[in-house]
Every structure is written in structure tokens, then in C-alpha cells.
Amino acid sequence: MSKSESKRLLEVKDLTVQYLTGEEVVEAVNGVSFTLDRGETLGLVGETGAGKTTIAKSILRILPDPPAKVAGGEIFLDGEDLLHMPESKMRTIRGKKISMIFQDPMTALNPIFSIGDQIAEVIRLHEKKLSKKAAYEKAVAMLEMVGIPGERYSDFPHQFSGGMKQRVIIAIALACNPELLLADEPTTALDVTIQAQVLDMMRKLKEELGTSMILITHDLGIVAEVCDKVAVVYAGEIVESGNLEAIYDHGSHPYTKGLFGSIPDIEGEEKRLSPINGMPPNPADLPEGCNFHPRCPYATDACRKGKIPFTEVAAGHLVRCVQAQKGEF
């Protein structure tokens, strides 16, 4: 296991995903690159429709094909090429090495199977030596770990509340001690008190099990609580990435600044928030040059043509902006 002892767990290089619908090509993810070390948590932040979920699903290779197509790029887990491995091998990774927590707990569980069986399913898939009884016992243990009494093993999803369903989904995701957890807006569908509980639990479990995590969210508060690194996604592109302090204290991209400008400040005295004007671009018809320039208050002619490269404004802090290139931030 010398390979898996290396620090780097996941490397995504230049990932490009398109949705091919009848006439147009929707450019959902455009050249996204990032890396993730063991035990680290990366926050993918951005508006709805920015391509965050598509990034996560393409790591697991569960995008609906057609219409989705990975048009380019590479994804390495422990140095193994995920995008080019045969489906049968990929299946041994799904649910075992990488697992995913889905956005909507109300629909992510199969309504006609008991929740316990749904947890035991993933255990039995990846631990074939385990007897039926041992898998049952492990599923019960997982239920109790997420705070659901084991006697509820045979209950069905309709007998649970949204927060409890999300716990079941987390139990499924963690059942095989994954090395990488993709959490796709795990708390969006929950109310605030349950949100706090679920986040707390995820953080605790992550610490206990040493799992790396990619947390997808549009809630900057959650990112600040849980993540080590942040990547800001806009129109299928990472526009700024760095560690938590770099983004929160020295956010440089106009979009990042805009995101923070639209959060109310408890101590400040502003009467109005400053929203980002305009709408995200249509991914089937992205603007020339910087994707953000039509909404950017600092846009110049240089922003309207060509692809804007990353500039490293501080160690590990990358910004995709012309202004940063000039060193103005």
C-alpha cells in the first residue's frame, strides 16, 4: 500500500464536461483543476447552476450519459486514472473509496426498501466476505453512529423526517469508510437547527475516520466552519482558489468579493446588501473572455477577449482575473 500512503488523494486536471442537448452544447464545467490531500476538506462554492454538482458527479462517473459527456481532462485518485478505468473497476471504487451525500434527502432514498437494507446493501457490495448477519449488524452500528436507534432498521423512508433521512444517507455514504466523501449541499434541504446537527456530525465523523471531503455549497458560513481550502466556481470555472484565510480575508476576484458583499454583516451598519448585478451567463452561450465580465464592475477591454489565466497572488492563492495579473489587488 505504498501508493496510498502518499499525501495527495485526488487530482483533477483540466476537467471539461458538456451536456449535449439536441441543438446546443451546454458547457457545464470548463477546465477545472484542483487537488485534495488526505484528511483535507475542500469547499466548492458558487451559485446554483455553476457546475459544482457536475464536478462531483464526474468524479464518481455517475453523470447521466447521454446527455452529459466528459469532453476532456483527467481525474486521478491515488494516482489511478478514474476516467479511463473500466466500469467494473470503477464500481469497486464507488461507495467504497469515494462516496457521495446527495442534495435532496427526500428523494435520494429508495422509497420501497427499508433504510437498514439500503445501508446494508453498500456494505455487502464492498465487503463480500461479510455474512448477511454481520452486514446487518454493521448497518445497525452505522445507524446508531448517525444517531438513529438500531430498532428502526426495518423502517421505510416515508417514516422518517428530512433530517433523519439525511442522516441515513450519510450513514450509507460512510458505511465503507470512504477515503473521499463528496458532500453535495448536504444541508440545503434542512432547516437551520438540523443543519447545525448534521454539520456537527459530519465534522466529528470526518475527524474520527480521517476522510477527505469535497463540500459543495452556496452557503459561505458552512464553508468557514468546515473547510480547509476553498474554490470559488463561476460558470463552470474555478475563478479563485486558496485556503480558507486567503479567500475569506483576502478574496481578490470581483466575483468572490461580490459573494461576500451579499452576506449581511452582523456588526456592520449597512442598510442594504450589495448584490452582484445581473444573472449568471447561459452555459450554452458563454461570453468571450472572462465569463464574469458582463457583471463585473471593474471590467476592461482586456477582460473581453482570450482566456484569462490564473495568477498566484500569494502562495497557493490563485485568482483568474486581469486585475490580479496587473498586481492591482
Binding site: I93, D104, P111, H158
Partner: protein, 324 residues
């Protein structure tokens, strides 16, 4: 669950009484004199009048209806055929095995062909496989069953001489009638399966199953299909019920001595007891089949199972939410 079944069986009583009343009334107002039919054209008026009196045909509507209901539901006697004097209940009992075998085999054929066809079409939506499967279903749905039966019997019985064309005997006699009913039935099952599968196949829980590392065929046949099953069960149950009620056309084409041919000949000969008896039989069979279908729902879907559970067994709040 037992309470639910008993409740449903009790509910069948008014339904069957209603059917009895309807069919009796229709028969009552249908022109034509049974006495004349029984005695033939060369009977004298006196003979006819005597028989009319004997059969009770001169009594009023209400008297005759009450007499019929008492005869059927209290004495369990469906009466004797006007034509050959044989007991209608016994006759139906004798014919039932043939109809049942034809119905069961054709439904199995329809499911075995229709279900995979629909699944393949849904999984490969908008590809040539989908188009081919739906084209086949369209052809199947457009061809009337009796025509398929005639063509099959033309090809395999007359031209090739492999199979008997009519009658009933060994297993080979069942092949052509069951095939012709099954082939025309599989089309609607295929279409139902496809639309049901398309609905569930993009559901989040199917993606969850894939994300667990489950193999694709199990994702489709276990996670997705089990959720798409309810409309398919309804369709299959209805088809089975209709066939049990007698595949009139197929039975006539292949001369099978089943319920269908009995009903057809009863109608042709104005054999009122035979018609009333077989319609009653169809009503009872359908009631039972639909009950079985509803119980299968509960078997497949725990949400429906929860509704069927007796109210006493559940806390009050759950009962209020459960509906039924």
C-alpha cells in the same frame, strides 16, 4: 391486513348485486320470448303459453328479480340452460379450467415479452433499440388479437402443419391461442413498462444505487423496476381478469370450449340463464383479481402497506394521515 381483505370482500357484495340487477334488467327488456326459443318454431300457442307459465315468465319484474336473486345467492343455483337444460353453474365450472389455462399462459407470455421490451426501450431511450421496441409494440397494439390468431393458425397449422388449428387436447393445442392473445397483450405491457421506467430511471435514488457501486442490471431490475411496478401490475391484472372472463374472440377462433364460447353461444341463442350466469361469473372474477392486484401493491410498496394496516393497530395520528 386481514381486516382490509375482509372489508374488500364485503364490499364486493353490493357490486355483485348491482351487476346482477343490471344484467337481469337488460335481459328483461330484451325482446324475444324464451319459451318460443326453447320450443322452436313449430310449437303451438298453447304449448308456449304453458311453458311461459311454467318458467314464471308471466310474473312481474320485481317478482322475477327477487326469485332470481334468491335462486342464485341463497340456493347457489344459476338455473338451467334454456337450450340444453344443463346447469349453468356446472357448465361454467367445467369450462373454467380451459379458460384459466389459456388466460394464465397468455398473460405469462405477454409479461415475458412485454416487460423486457419496455425496460430495454426505457434504458436506451431515443436510441435505435428504443425505436425498434416501440415500433414492435405499435405493430402489436395495432393488430387485433383475432387477426393475429388467424394468421398464426394459417401459418403454423395450415401451411406448416406443425400445430393443431382448433379444439383442445394436449399442450400443443394451447400454443397458438395463447401466443395470439399474448402477442397482442405484450404491446400494451411494453408501453406501460417503458413509461413507468422512464419516470423512475432518472430518480435520485437510482443515482444513489449507482453511487453505491451497485451493478447496472441490479440498479435497473431491482431499484428502478420495483418502483415502476405498480402501474404494470394493474395492467397485467386487468389483462388476466379480461382473459379469465373469457377471451371470446380467441376462444371462438380456436374453438376452445371455455367461458368465452359459452357466453357467445348463450347470447346467440338467447339463453338467458347462461348469459346471466356467465356475466355474474365475470363480475366475481374481476372483483377477486382486483383485490389481488391491490394486495400486490401493498406487497410491493411499503407506503401502501401502511395504509392497509388496520386503524386499531396504529396510533391515532398515523391513522389520520394514512387516509383509508
Amino acid at each position: 391486513m386481514i381486516r382490509y381483505i375482509v372489508k374488500r370482500l364485503l364490499l364486493m357484495i353490493p357490486v355483485i348485486l348491482g351487476v346482477t340487477w343490471l344484467i337481469f334488467t337488460i335481459m328483461y327488456f330484451t325482446p324475444g320470448d324464451p319459451a318460443r326459443i326453447i320450443l322452436g318454431t313449430d310449437a303451438s300457442e298453447a304449448e308456449i303459453a304453458a311453458l311461459q307459465e311454467d318458467l314464471g315468465l308471466n310474473d312481474g319484474y320485481v317478482v322475477r328479480f327477487v326469485r332470481y336473486v334468491k335462486q342464485v345467492f341463497i340456493d347457489f343455483d344459476m338455473g338451467e340452460s334454456y337450450i340444453n337444460g344443463r346447469n349453468v353453474g356446472e357448465e361454467i365450472g367445467l369450462r373454467f379450467p380451459y379458460t384459466f389455462r389459456v388466460a394464465a399462459i397468455s398473460v405469462v407470455i405477454a409479461v415475458l415479452i412485454g416487460l423486457p421490451l419496455g425496460i430495454v426501450a426505457a434504458v436506451n431511450q431515443f436510441t435505435w433499440k428504443d425505436n425498434a421496441a416501440m415500433m414492435a409494440a405499435l405493430v402489436g397494439i395495432s393488430m387485433p388479437g383475432f387477426w393475429v390468431g388467424l394468421m398464426l393458425s394459417l401459418a403454423f397449422a395450415l401451411r406448416l402443419g406443425w400445430l393443431p388449428a382448433t379444439g383442445i387436447g394436449g399442450p400443443q393445442y394451447y400454443i397458438l391461442p395463447c401466443l395470439s392473445i399474448g402477442l397482442s397483450g405484450c404491446a400494451s405491457i411494453a408501453r406501460q413498462t417503458r413509461s413507468g421506467m422512464l419516470e423512475v430511471i432518472r430518480q435520485d435514488y437510482v443515482v444513489t444505487a449507482r453511487a453505491k457501486g451497485q451493478v447496472e442490471w441490479k440498479v435497473i431490475y431491482w431499484h428502478a423496476l420495483m418502483n415502476a411496478l405498480i402501474p404494470i401490475i394493474t395492467q397485467v391484472g386487468t389483462m388476466f381478469g379480461i382473459q379469465l372472463g373469457g377471451a371470446m374472440i380467441a376462444e371462438t377462433v380456436f374453438s376452445i370450449p371455455g367461458i368465452g364460447t359459452y357466453m357467445v353461444s348463450g347470447i346467440k341463442n338467447r339463453d338467458y340463464p347462461a348469459i346471466q350466469g356467465s356475466v355474474l361469473y365475470v363480475a366475481v372474477i374481476f372483483g377477486i383479481i382486483m383485490l389481488v392486484v391491490d394486495l400486490l401493491y401493498a406487497f410491493v410498496d411499503p407506503r401502501i402497506r401502511a395504509q392497509y394496516q388496520s386503524r386499531k393497530a396504529r396510533p391515532k395520528k398515523a391513522a389520520a394521515e394514512g387516509g383509508k
